[in-house]
Symmetry: C2
Subunit: 326 residues, 2 copies
Amino acid sequence: MHVIDCLQYCNWSEKIFQQMREGGVDAVHVTIAYHENFREMVANVEQWNRWFERYPELIFQGRTGDDVRRARREGRTAIFFGFQNPSPIEDDIGLVEICHTLGARFMQLTYNNQSLLATGCYEEEDTGLTRMGRTVVAEMNRVGLVVDMSHSAERSTLEAIEFSTRPIAITHANPAFWHPARRNKSDEVLRALAESGGMLGFSLYPHHLKDKSDCTLDGFCEMIARTAEMMGPERIGIGTDLCQDQPDSIVEWMRVGRWTKEVDYGEGSAANAGFPPMPEWFTDNRHFGNVADGLAAQGFAAAEIEGIMGENWLAFFDAGFGVANG
Amino acid sequence: MHVIDCLQYCNWSEKIFQQMREGGVDAVHVTIAYHENFREMVANVEQWNRWFERYPELIFQGRTGDDVRRARREGRTAIFFGFQNPSPIEDDIGLVEICHTLGARFMQLTYNNQSLLATGCYEEEDTGLTRMGRTVVAEMNRVGLVVDMSHSAERSTLEAIEFSTRPIAITHANPAFWHPARRNKSDEVLRALAESGGMLGFSLYPHHLKDKSDCTLDGFCEMIARTAEMMGPERIGIGTDLCQDQPDSIVEWMRVGRWTKEVDYGEGSAANAGFPPMPEWFTDNRHFGNVADGLAAQGFAAAEIEGIMGENWLAFFDAGFGVANG
């Protein structure tokens, strides 16, 4: 079995890379841009290159599905880059291929706000894919950069699923039927995603969970079982949104970047502005076994559990990260 | 036999790519930066990506020696990127690996002027490798970005040969014993280059030639024979410096960039400020056969001719472009 977490944004350290190994995590999709422009994103790649150079026995950069298999063979964790915002491509479609060459494998068309490409989930009006959005999705399809709509609004998400010629992903969100957070997804989105061959990664970020930090493992895994009935057990995986060891200043920056001088609480509130505590059964990379156990308790078959814990993402990586028809 | 030209900077067009095919040229090292900063160099990669997308039957991006073999098999030309100045890495050592990831395989430590790394051949004082120069050479050695000293001054070049743990290249220059141009290289440099396993690419740019545009094929090939006696026939290849179809405004920009408001004539003069005409026996990529014929007329053995026309560069590419000890 391969274990893949399709979204983390930790305050990276040797300790966390070591915990990935202790947890048997073969691959992690890490966010390397929230609001960064191209050059700032490149500086983040440079930082990752230093970690790869410093901790080669723990991590290396992943570019293909085969790198996940290599990670398992070699007892290391493959790190895949992604953007939660299209800010790194600025207004330049040529940067899509450049970013793919640098290793980017997922790019959200929006974070919470309107972008040059589509509408984020916190806007009042959702106008769907923009003119540039359509050209960029076509270019992402060509080079093998996966469209991620985790933070995007409903219409934009449905249009991305429809317009993209290759399956897209929602790397980290949960169904709205279980917990109606603004970031969680409607039945219509989930069905369209599944029908198009896309993937949903279940989030463990407390704002996306029923009962938030008090969410139980049983409740979480029961939700997965209900989603599997709707989407099929091959169209789902894990995308924890783990933000381990980050100071609260980071979630503030994630929400406001440089776009406002005001405070924006996003999924939080004035009374609860920082990172919420993770559920006690999942606080770091050593706890993926708890999720697998919870799935078994729900009656999932062994092959289904393997699929949800990583094999489904691995098949998606195999199909999604290369050039079209390549 | 593989044919490799280790330096061109043409005004690229389908016509020129087609001429590469007509001339049986398997690989070309093309300059993608003279004065460009990082972001400007990336824009040049974007332009190349569009050519690769538009003319896939003629060209593709080369990254390894095996791509030269693939080019020969598939009847295409592999294009390798290089910089004639370290300006794309700015003052950031992390950009060395980023540039290598984007495909850069050669980087001159200087163009004609002092750089952050070393001294160019037009400076009055040559202080050798700078502090940053030594750290960057070590990083280039680590990732497989080849040091190129074609435009650098004497002491800097000798220090680069000495300090670099992997063989370096002078991709496009000729021996000063034949034509004492400022850019041509001393016997001491050529001997040190050969002893360290480095490579010299013979230039066909008229300012580097005896009798300039009137240089004869015989004279050029006789010079190669004399250099082969000094360096060994495995340490030499071709680096034409072909600048086909470029307007004279380009050679002006190559010389002055943004560093001066004055006119600098470089290797030219006020009376001869533009691109000089190429020798009639080598005006474009269809004429490599003339050079091979000229080498045969000098008495080179068939295997030596194959080496000079491409196999020597290919062996150097194989050894030089990957990670150290990788």
